[in-house]
């Protein structure tokens, strides 16, 4: 009965972007029952992308990024308390303070946390940071404002590169150490990674690729680090930007298909249990979710994207209060953006799901271009550099499985589709930075992954 689903108790674990947008959508869709939001941070929901941009540039304070609401979610807030377990038979969530919350339907939106430096003693040195929370950003922004002699950034993924960009914009010397062959190579492949490397060096970044950081030094306070090539970096601040870890450990004994790549769910955001059977009362959204996508051969995708968190939360919430035939699938094409070193980089589709690339518009020299990614003769992704207005056009090509290389038409030059070259996407295992888009195979109950961060 549709009416029944608008009543009952709903608990949302995770009080960030996905959790908040789901809560608002539940109310917009007419849910009238009690709603509880549980968040492990003490802060109300806030926006994370500005933390590596405006906040590090000193243009906004970390406490200023609290998210606006579309409407009052009329929730009971349990902030500063972590969920520690789930009893799916008794339908209760266990909390770190010993309390437990009963639910009729549950949304898991626990997201990710920064992957910590593997040596806890070195990680505890004063001046060693990760960047994921507003408290992290607050502390790091304060150090940058104090004018350190040099900052060491470990990992040249999007977050690490944005941190390096903010440092250079503030006139701070910065060294970036990356185990892979170039910045951003895990997300964008070899050609754009070369552009990113050139860009970093042109902006005065001391970029060291093909190296790992073997030790952090300091006597209470961070003073420098050793690299695997035998060199040593003297620095006052170190930012560990080695990607994210999904917050799924609390589900280890729950019987759900939850693991390092996230909690597996169906296209309607319903969680799978470890036998691959779909539940009907536990839903997943945002970075914690792992879901099948028809455009990418129904492989399970794990995304760490702002837009995905919003879109998936809205679908999950809709499906939590609507019966089967009225439920919707989460089919949005993945989109993300990054701004760094004066460039606006946007991506649509899954660039790592590719075998070839071609520059369809603009050029590397102009630092203004559209790179189109293809897999077995169809378009699967596009990345724009300072050409964001074109993203929608390529999204249509991806949605319609248009042939690759794309036909001239979008092109702003006669010889549009120059010769495609290999997309050159490396195995994520060889990188310091984790991938923000991961194709994780077909099986929902595959819970394990090999992660070797250093």
């Amino acid at each position: 009965m549709p009416g029944d689903l608008r009543e009952g108790r709903i608990v949302i674990i995770g009080a960030s972007l996905a959790g908040l947008r789901a809560a608002e959508t539940l109310r917009e869709e007419g849910f009238t029952g009690p709603l509880t939001m549980v968040g492990d941070e003490p802060h109300p929901p806030y926006d994370r992308p500005p933390l590596s941009k405006q906040v590090l540039l000193g243009k906004a304070s970390a406490s200023a990024t609290e998210l606006p609401t579309r409407r009052d979610p009329e929730a009971q807030w349990r902030l500063g308390v972590r969920a520690t377990g789930l009893d799916p038979v008794g339908k209760r969530v266990l909390l770190a303070d010993g309390d437990s919350l009963p639910y009729d339907r549950l949304l898991i939106a626990t997201g990710t946390r920064a992957r910590p430096w593997p040596n806890p003693e070195e990680a505890a040195l004063d001046g060693v940071f990760t960047l994921r929370t507003s408290d992290d950003a607050d502390g790091l922004a304060e150090r940058l404002a104090a004018g350190p002699r040099r900052v060491l950034v470990i990992g040249a993924g999007f977050t690490g590169s944005e941190i390096a960009s903010a440092c250079r914009e503030r006139g701070i010397e910065v060294t970036v150490a990356e185990r892979g062959p170039a910045p951003l190579v895990g997300a964008l492949g070899g050609t754009l990674a070369k552009l990113a490397a050139g860009l970093q060096r042109a902006h005065g970044v001391d970029l060291r690729c093909g190296v790992t950081v073997t030790a952090l030094h300091g006597n209470g306070r961070f003073t420098g680090a050793d690299l695997s090539d035998g060199s040593h970096i003297d620095a006052d601040v170190c930012v560990v930007a080695m990607g994210a870890v999904r917050n799924t450990e609390w589900l280890a004994d729950s019987g759900l298909a939850a693991g390092a790549r996230g909690v597996a769910c169906d296209a309607g955001c319903r969680a799978f249990n470890m036998y691959g059977i779909v539940t009907d009362d536990i839903f997943v959204a945002g970075d914690a979710a792992r879901f099948p996508h028809p455009l990418f051969e129904y492989q399970m995708l794990s995304l760490e994207h702002w837009g995905n968190a919003v879109a998936q939360a809205e679908v999950a919430a809709h499906n939590m209060v609507n019966p089967g035939p009225l439920r919707r699938p989460h089919l949005a094409v993945p989109v993300f953006w990054s701004s760094q070193f004066g460039l606006n980089i946007k991506s649509v589709g899954v660039p790592t799901f590719s075998d070839q690339v071609v520059i369809a518009q603009g050029s590397l020299d102009e630092r203004r271009l559209v790179m189109v990614y293809g897999y077995r003769g169809r378009v699967t992704a596009a990345v724009t550099v300072n050409m964001a207005k074109w993203l929608e056009y390529y999204e249509r090509l991806i949605e319609t499985a248009a042939p690759f290389p794309p036909a001239p038409g979008a092109a702003d030059r006669a010889t549009a589709a120059a010769v495609p070259v290999p997309s050159d996407v490396p195995d994520p295992k060889v990188l310091s930075h984790g991938p923000t888009v991961a194709l994780t195979g077909y099986l929902p109950d595959r819970r394990l992954t090999m992660v070797r961060p250093v």
């Binding site: 908040l20 109300p44 929901p45 926006d47 992308p49 500005p50 941009k53 405006q54 540039l57 243009k59 906004a60 304070s61 200023a64 990024t65 609290e66 998210l67 606006p68 609401t69 579309r70 009052d72 979610p73 009329e74 929730a75 807030w77 994207h305 702002w306 837009g307 919003v310 989109v335 993300f336 953006w337 701004s339 004066g342 460039l343 606006n344 203004r368 300072n386 050409m387 964001a388 207005k389 993203l391 929608e392």
Partner: protein
């Protein structure tokens, strides 16, 4: 009041930069930077910017802690 811009949707038309230059700025040619905490004296301008955005990417609203505790 707070704002958040859906930068997935933003295409850099920069209407907001013209209407509320103290809150929105272009960072390079194409990337938008903004102050998420809107000063009171900028609120009218920010509302105009939100209305004028060709892709409707700007959300203006109360923060959770202002109304929903």
């Amino acid at each position: 009041m707070r704002i958040v811009v859906d930068l997935t949707r933003c295409q850099g038309y920069a209407q907001c930069v013209f209407l509320a230059p103290e809150v929105f700025e272009l960072h390079g040619e194409d990337a938008l930077l903004y102050d998420p905490a809107v000063p009171d004296d900028q609120l009218d301008r920010v509302r105009q910017a939100a209305a004028a955005c060709p892709v409707q990417a700007i959300l203006v609203g109360e923060e959770v802690s202002a109304g929903a505790r």
